[in-house]
């Protein structure tokens, strides 16, 4: 079986309104984050791959399965959608147990998996209460529990950190990382770019229904050549270092760090920059403590490729 999620030239129009246009993507196992402003098409992509909406054109395959093949697809896929609503009058336990029973498993097996998934999101104590009485964070957790309860190989999470307090957010991120390490596909949409940095193996940037960039954050940053890369160097003589680096014409900006023990340098050619830096270090004129890229994170590439509207960090 193919282990990729594949979008082949997929377009979706809602009447005359564009959802997504000509998206071609191949997503390997690991944690992939969809990043883009509101209305950019992130949820449409997720709904397309789960069959909640049908593409106007193009083809989608999830591990070799078509989204219209619900009986097989949803044995391997869990989707924690953004819709904050539940069947009326249902308890957390019933919500997960009923969904597991629809997989055709025995009652004993469904009970076992229900307990396991509720404990995974620390919701065991509230399981018997009606979901209508849950806080927003608890509702988010019970949706997550339902999505992972049947041990899917692909997990699609639409803004899964919304409404969670910092502690629950950290626990959820740890859960995603654990699932990612187990070789699962996790496709997460998020606008919290700091967290995207922490959890993502790959990012997919999308704006206005179009694919802007995809790959690892570092790969994508390297591809944005028109924006010089910024590097922070902690050293004992930042002014001297800046002067030396400026003698090279690909260094376009230098800014001393506030504490006077470092300098931010911008360069149009990062390879030559590091080679030059090695030379200076070898000369022994400047003692360097650390060298770290300062703008190869999700926030920076979001700013460079999409702009500031809609993104928060």
């Amino acid at each position: 079986m193919n282990d990729q999620i594949i979008f082949e030239n997929v377009s979706k129009f809602y009447g005359e309104v564009l959802g997504v246009n000509r998206i071609s993507l191949s997503i390997p196992p690991g944690i992939t984050t969809l990043v883009g402003p509101n209305g950019s098409g992130k949820t449409t992509l997720m709904n397309l791959m789960t069959g909640l909406v049908q593409p106007s054109s193009g083809r989608i395959s999830v591990m070799g399965l078509s989204p219209v093949n619900a009986p097989e697809l949803f044995c391997i896929l869990g989707y924690c959608a953004q819709f904050d609503s539940f069947p009326r009058g249902i308890t957390g336990w019933q919500f997960i147990f009923d969904s597991l029973m629809l997989h055709g498993m025995s009652e004993a097996e469904a009970v076992e998996l229900t307990i396991e998934s509720l404990e995974r999101v620390q919701l065991g104590d509230a399981a018997g209460r009606k979901i209508a009485g849950y806080s927003k964070g608890m509702r988010q957790k019970v949706r997550l529990a339902q999505a992972v309860a049947h041990h899917p190989r692909v997990l699609v999470l639409d803004e899964p950190l919304n409404g969670l307090d910092p502690m629950a957010r950290a626990e959820s991120i740890a859960l995603f990382q654990e699932l990612g390490r187990q070789g699962m596909h996790l496709l997460i949409s998020s606008h919290i770019l700091d967290e995207v940095d922490r959890i993502s193996d790959r990012v997919v940037l999308i704006a206005g229904g179009y694919l802007v960039a995809e790959g690892s954050i570092q790969q994508v940053r390297h591809e944005v050549q028109e924006k010089p890369m910024q590097v922070l160097i902690r050293c004992d003589r930042p002014a001297l270092l800046a002067a030396k680096m400026f003698s090279v014409n690909h260094c376009v900006e230098a800014r001393l760090h506030a504490d006077g023990k470092g300098v931010f340098l911008r360069t149009g050619d990062i390879d030559q920059f590091y080679s030059m830096l090695n030379g200076i270090a070898a000369e022994g004129l400047v003692k360097m403590e650390s060298v770290a890229p300062a703008d190869d994170d999700a926030s920076a590439i979001y700013q460079y490729l999409i702009g500031s509207s809609g993104g928060t960090s």
Binding site: V68, S85, G89, S99
Partner: protein, 287 residues
């Protein structure tokens, strides 16, 4: 031809019937629970049991001389045809069956079903069966209670009419009519709720269609639930004035042909509903 039939039968045997059966049992249980045990179902209970309450008052207030049995039998037949078939079951089924798909879209909870490993056709048919069970339980028990209360006041004469006369046969016919009415209106309202954001105006058109059906050509009369049920009535009801709009006079048809005709109508409607559910999209913001 034989080869095609053989291939079709082979493909039928290869379907996961066991899994569908398990899923169907669970889906029907969930849906019946939602249909019957919520506050919102209160008005359907009201529609089903309001005649029962009136008959109960009639039982406790009025005298029941033996010669009045035939009059009460006609009243009961009128209640079934004029109230249950044309209004009670009609609006009860509108409430129950339009909730199954459209109601869940309004509540934004339908996607949970569509994200489960259940064929959409199986889901739709299970929802339909659950709706039918709920409606038949409510209206069937209401009719049975109406029947029991109607003849309870007659003492020995009533018992004799029920057990040694035509009583039980009439009850069976009423229950069969209620089952077919729930199936027929249920299928129509399930489909309407998938076609329209608000199925109520369309349902009012159906009500109007049912009312004018007797004056339509005989071919068009076959597109009516009430016209089929009319042929199954064990006691004919003659109505005058405004009530004449609620009765149906059609050309005579045998009971089995009426039942078969209605079942064919239901199958055709469900077939089209299955086709539509395959392409149903979840776009709550536009629903």
């Amino acid at each position: 031809m034989m080869e095609v039939v053989g291939k079709f039968l082979r493909s039928l045997t290869q379907q996961p019937w066991g899994l569908w059966w398990i899923q169907a049992r669970r889906l029907i249980r969930i849906e019946v629970r939602r249909n019957l045990f919520t506050w919102k179902a209160g008005w359907v209970y009201f529609l089903a049991f309001i005649p029962t309450l009136i008959i109960l008052i009639h039982l406790s207030v009025d005298r029941h001389p033996a010669f009045a049995i035939s009059e009460d039998t006609s009243v009961l037949a009128g209640i079934v045809q004029l109230y249950y078939i044309r209004l009670g079951v009609f609006f009860g089924c509108l409430g129950i069956f339009s909730r199954l798909i459209r109601g869940e879209m309004i509540e934004r909870s339908l996607h949970f079903y569509l994200l489960s490993p259940v064929r959409r056709e199986v889901l739709l048919l299970c929802k339909f069966v659950a709706g039918c069970i709920s409606a038949v339980l409510l209206f069937g028990s209401a009719i049975a209670a109406d029947f029991a209360l109607m003849y309870a006041g007659f003492g020995a004469a009533g018992t004799d009419y029920v057990f040694n006369g035509p009583g039980l046969g009439q009850l069976e016919a009423y229950l069969a009519i209620i089952v077919l009415a729930c199936l027929g209106y249920g299928a129509i309202f399930l489909l309407l709720s998938m076609m329209f954001r608000n199925p109520t105006p369309a349902a009012m058109l159906v009500l109007g269609w049912e009312a004018i059906n007797p004056v339509l050509p005989s071919l068009l009369q076959k597109l009516s639930v009430a016209s089929y049920l009319r042929h199954l009535m064990p006691v004919s009801v003659s109505a005058h004035g405004i009530f004449a709009l609620l009765t149906v006079e059609t050309e005579p048809v045998s009971a089995w042909a009426a039942a078969l005709g209605l079942l064919l109508l239901i199958i055709a409607v469900l077939f089209y509903a299955c086709y539509r559910v395959r392409t149903l999209e979840i776009r709550y913001t536009t629903d």
